[in-house]
Homo-oligomer: 385 residues x 2
């Protein structure tokens, strides 16, 4: 497989963007990435999106955006893997360029969610779960995660406040990210007083949805051997894995086996180990997912992920910095776009562009994007040369 | 790009399959393809589907089917390009195996449409068009195609009955395909008496939707150097192209520029010309699309595609046989599955398994799958060795 480099990145602020259409939001990120890459044309377009058929009545987003950003006659397609759609689109673009059949790809992750009422969004998000065996029972997506979190607390003896460091870190880091949805520092007291959504998940355990888009331009690495000035970021590892779609079908609902498998394959491809990772943009849709992701990816023992937060190891100066730009929790979670936001953020870290939340000397970054309740998990590793 | 072979194919009958779930329909085709391939495991799964979020409340179909067919921990993803989803999923799988990162892929095209009322299906299908600038005006998908057909008749002086040979040929061929939705021979008289849907498109110009799934297993060609007994079918050309999403944005709404571009690239990749193609499974969602597809792919002059039907050149013994298993018109059009049905049918032709509608000595076959009103078009060329 030939080596791939990230030539440019772009993003919009995650927000309620009622004044902008789906087209405009995705286009804004795409143009930013192409400008950053210094190109006005690419061979192909891969779009990660989950909800546009349900929220915007629009399918065929590949061609929809190719048309909007002026890539007529180029190849274009949409990829969907629930909240893992962004990274899945990135991997599809990666495979296409790696195959040698095409020479460049623009990958957009885009989601416009807030035009609908809350109950409509909750219903739309439930399509990530098993329609026949989970959703038919009346459970929502946050409800499924609440069952998992409750079991984890019971099994390993953690209390609710032990999850607070994940949210506090994410909110603190987002203060320095102009693209983040929430700019609001939180404390342990605020975390404990927050409204309950689905016990034991409260408002500050959960990530806010939002409208937003992020984009990257990728090319074969040999094409950017001498990027003047800017450090060259390349893809060192890429893997996707799956688990059962329904949580109740798993032997151990507290083990993200698809995270274990995809991170294992990505480490192997990169020739690296967990201790080599300088920064890790994980999928903290709910605080419990931060713990499970850290455990399955080799950063903590089973049941001990929360300890990394309690030991102050997850901030930008810690042993394994996570959510350095705010994570899903505070940057926001425009579901199909999230996987690309994570990649954009890791590229910013490896380029040394993160100011107050810069991980000093970051050379190797990892992203992990999750679709459903751990059903589809993609892990990517990037390095800077 | 390394050469890819089709190791196995499978399909279900296109029908109203109310007694079977989405899972069961897709699984049936997948198991049939794996059995035909003689494998019980593959590295990855690519699913083409357009409507499951809207009709079945189910997203994340990649992982959904990986779980159902027992491919836990394998990579899986869904691809959507409206009615071009099937071929787009095939091409994504092709790129992934061609990249060298994975060694085999199962590609499923699946659609369950008939659980909903007709107006719901019409609304769901309209998501293939431009939501802001076409659908907002109240036009349906058949309405858009009717405008194109009317313009074509006006521009080139054809009358409605001139399109009849496309439908008559498709229905005649479907008589010999047990998987076809319609087994009903039609005549020119019946064609002319058929109910009008959206003038000038009548019921026999339009393809019926349906529930159905088709699947293929692909591997690097070197892995099947000596397939005992069965001829080896390989991919000679693959290309995807796009046009504006709205028909009114095109310079010439009667020219499928994305068909022209994708067939041109596929011919170049294969080192072939239109006259080398022995059988062509085209996308006859409406009879007008057969004409436009033949023209843009180099088989007829602009405005003269219908002449191939009138001159009796499109039947299995003609110069360019199309819809040899019934096409969308009579095999049926389970939208996201259609692109894979076309590939399965061409493989059957190249293997010489088509009985009464076998194209004698067929060595090279082509498929063309269209998403939206000519917005996304994928062309694939296959040969047998």
């Amino acid at each position: 497989m030939r080596k791939i480099a990230i030539l440019g990145v772009g993003q919009t602020k995650v927000d309620e963007q009622w004044e902008k259409s789906l087209r405009e939001i995705g286009g804004e990120a795409a143009f930013a990435a192409m400008q950053d890459a210094g190109v006005d044309k690419v061979d192909s377009l891969f779009v990660g999106n989950m909800l546009s058929p349900l929220i915007s009545g629009q399918n065929q987003l590949g061609t929809f955006f190719a048309d909007w950003v002026g890539l007529w006659h180029q190849e274009a397609v949409k990829i969907e893997a629930a909240c893992g759609s962004g990274a899945a689109a990135f991997r599809a673009g990666l495979m296409a360029v790696a195959s040698g059949d095409i020479e460049s790809a623009l990958v957009i992750g885009v989601e416009k969610m807030t035009d609908k009422a809350g109950h409509d969004i909750t219903a739309a998000l439930s399509t990530a779960a098993d329609a026949d065996y989970e959703v038919e029972q009346g459970i929502s997506f946050v409800g499924i995660n609440a069952l998992v979190m409750r079991r984890y607390m019971h099994e390993f003896g953690w209390k609710h406040a032990d999850f607070a460091p994940f949210s506090i870190n994410a909110h603190a880091n987002a203060m320095h990210n102009p693209y983040a949805r929430l700019h609001e520092k939180i404390s342990i007291e605020k975390f404990e007083r927050s409204s309950m959504i689905a016990t034991p998940i409260n408002l500050l355990d959960a990530s806010p949805v939002g409208d937003g888009a992020a984009a990257v331009v990728i090319v074969p690495a040999e094409r950017v051997a001498s990027l003047k000035g800017k450090p060259r970021v390349t893809v060192a590892g890429s893997a996707s894995s799956t688990d059962t779609i329904a949580v109740h079908s798993r032997k151990d609902p507290l083990f993200l086996s698809a995270a274990y498998q995809s991170s294992k394959r990505a480490y192997e491809m990169a020739g690296l180990k967990p201790e080599d990772i300088d920064v890790f943009e994980l999928h903290d849709a709910f605080s419990i997912m931060s713990a499970l992701s850290l455990e399955a990816s080799g950063f903590a023992e089973h049941g001990q992920g929360v300890r990394l937060g309690l030991d102050d190891e997850i901030n930008p100066k810690g042993r394994i910095p996570v959510c350095t730009r705010g994570g899903l929790k505070a940057r926001g979670h425009p579901v199909g776009a999230t996987g690309i936001y994570q990649i954009v953020e890791v590229v910013q870290q490896l380029r040394g562009e993160c100011g107050h939340t810069q991980v000093e000397g970051a050379q190797i970054g990892m992203t992990q994007n999750i679709g459903g309740s751990g059903a589809t998990i993609l892990t990517h590793i990037f390095n800077v040369e």
